[in-house]
């Protein structure tokens, strides 16, 4: 059986994997081609615009930093969604979890609990953000468990409740009257911006510590899902609920655990985002990162290990588009169109199914030929 023919990278890959890679490549190509068309349609200097769109994040450190910065929040929410989707839980409450995680954990902790004390504020902020986030996803989860209420609908409603709750608290209690929509700044306490970052090359490269936290979360999430026994159980629930029940798992509790963890990660992400990018809290709209998390999980096939790559890809598009927008006045919203198109083609099982059959048949032919050759050799 060990007929390893060293024909390069793809030689040892199964046909399924090859095809799924091909499908991903084609989906991405379609998306990028569409982006190119859109740019040509709209830009005054399409060449320049294209250059920014495709290469900006690699052009200098500050664009590079911006690229990484854009990836961080969606690494958090993407990982969160991976865990929930792995257990087949369609809890869409991450928007709310991210927002309130940022509000309570990122902002209020640093303003009121640990002012001027990043050493306490950051870890405590992360913790509080996570707990708040977990609470947000827990509510729909427990409602489904107790009353069988559709978690998708209740979690969507939770998002808006979180939004208006936080704006209410912000405007009626915590707002700094000097500002239009921000809390007091925690920078005031220690006179300098508390966001912690690496500054390399004279401050041109700025990488926030939140990236490190995000990557740690990814690693833990991966270990959790694929190495820990609870994670294994979660995946069993996600894969086949009846099977999980049959091997003796408590399906209901595991479903809740998955949602709690997802909410925790999203809330933690919100806190990190607030603590690294801002010196005060100022979100009065849903951030959209929760939905991005779903996109990420789709791209990553529900495996946290792939999330950073997926996030970097999307963030690259977004960073490029943003620079292009500032330089050439092209709307950043273009990336959303590209993302939507990629999602649709990436997930389309029937997309390129004819090619798949052809690949399969070719593979089978090859195998048959090899076998015949081997048989001939034996005889000869």
């Amino acid at each position: 059986m060990n007929k390893t023919n060293k024909k390069g990278l793809f030689a040892n890959m199964s046909v399924q994997n090859k095809h799924s890679l091909l499908r991903m490549a084609v989906a991405i190509a379609i998306g990028l081609a569409l982006a190119t068309v859109l740019i040509f349609m709209t830009a005054e200097l399409p060449g320049v615009a294209l250059k920014y769109f495709f290469t900006a994040p690699l052009q200098d450190w500050s664009y590079f930093s911006f690229w990484i910065q854009k990836a961080v929040p969606i690494i958090f929410t993407g990982t969160a969604v991976c865990i929930m989707f792995s257990a087949n839980q369609f809890n869409l409450g991450l928007e709310g979890a991210f927002l309130l995680g940022g509000f309570f954990g990122g902002a209020l902790v640093n303003i009121y609990v640990a002012p001027g004390n990043p050493a306490l504020g950051i870890p405590l902020g992360c913790l509080v953000g996570g707990v708040v986030g977990a609470l947000i996803t827990f509510i729909p989860a427990i409602l489904e468990r107790l009353f069988n209420a559709s978690v998708m609908v209740t979690s969507l409603m939770m998002n808006y409740i979180c939004l208006w709750l936080s704006t209410f608290l912000l405007f009626s209690v915590f707002k700094d009257p000097k500002t239009s929509k921000s809390t007091y700044s925690w920078a005031s306490a220690n006179k300098e911006i508390m966001v912690t970052k690496f500054n390399l090359d004279n401050g041109k490269l700025t990488i926030f510590y939140s990236l490190i936290i995000a990557l740690i979360v990814v690693v833990i999430a991966w270990f959790f899902l694929y190495r820990s026994k609870t994670g294994f159980k979660l995946r069993q629930v996600g894969e086949n609920k009846n099977f999980a029940k049959y091997v003796g798992l408590s399906v209901g509790s595991l479903a809740i655990i998955a949602q709690l963890i997802g909410g925790f990660i999203a809330g933690l992400g919100g806190a990190c985002e607030i603590m690294s990018l801002y010196t005060n809290y100022r979100w009065v709209e849903l951030t959209g990162f929760g939905w991005d998390g779903v996109t990420m999980a789709v791209f990553a096939k529900n495996n946290p290990r792939n999330v950073p790559l997926a996030a970097l890809f999307i963030a690259y598009l977004r960073a490029g588009a943003y620079v292009m927008s500032i330089k050439c006045g092209i709307q950043v919203d273009m990336t959303k169109i590209v993302e939507a198109v990629i999602i649709l083609f990436l997930l389309a099982e029937k997309f390129l199914s004819k090619t798949y059959r052809k690949m399969i048949i070719a593979e089978a032919e090859k195998e048959r030929a090899e076998r015949a050759a081997a048989a001939a050799k034996l005889e000869g």
Binding site: S150, V153, F168, D333
Partner: protein, 319 residues
Amino acid sequence: MKILLALLEVFKNPAFYGSVLAVTPPLLFAALGCSVAQKADMTNMGMEGIMLISSFCGTLAAGYIGGPNPWLGLLVGVIVGALLGYLVAFFNLKMKVDIILVGIAMNLLGGGATAFFLPLVTPNHDRTSTNSIQSGILPLIKLPFLEKFPTLNAILNNQNVLTWISYIMIFVMAFLLYKTKLGLRIRAVGENSNAAESVGISSSKVKTIALVLSGILGGLGGTFMSAAYLSYFSNGITAGRGFIGLAACSMGEANPIPTALTSILFGFFYALSNYARTTGISDNIMKMWPYIATLIGVVIYSINKTNKEKKRRAQLSEK
């Protein structure tokens, strides 16, 4: 106390009820659209995106083709809605993409494409709304005979024609789902597609039709936003109404009348949040109410359903 009195004042004001009627239609269209799809066992999560795109296209058509012609805009909005409904069906039924994820992609597309094309198609390269295109507004229905009855007059007179259509649509959809051949097939396919297939009904065809209908209603809802609520398209103009429609549909178990009542309840709280700001209650708190109400509603509904199911089982086992 002062606040309660002020609220009472609001409830005594007939214009408040007129306002409830005026803010409900987009929710109603969305909810009815979700319900017709849901009846065929298709969760139309992409309602928000469908509404946005059809609103956008409708506005452009109304403004560019034949000067301000909102009726044309309505037509185009509806056609675009139908096409998008078909697109959802295509990706789900033919390409086998999970229906929820098609919906999420549709919403992404809705937000992205409208915002992206807006400056390209408006004469002033507007970034936020089509203010520089005159797309007009659908006519208000004037009922002069009502002027003798001030209360009714405040509630019913001068409502937009699309508002009336939206309420008529409740009965149209109820009729369609419960009194027509198509409705029967939609319900049959949604509940047991094997049963439908076994008598020669193509379930994917019926599901596609249901989603196209859903798209049409989404188109009406979207056009309402830009040709009745406002007179122009503005980025994110639907502001989550598609999602609320989905929730209302879920609470009304996709049956047109309960779904419509839920939407109206939602509209009630929505209007209340507008009126209550002059009573001293924080309007952010008021804005939370519709969602909390829906949340509670969904829970109560689910409890009821579970109990009913239990009772049914118990009854059966007695036999």
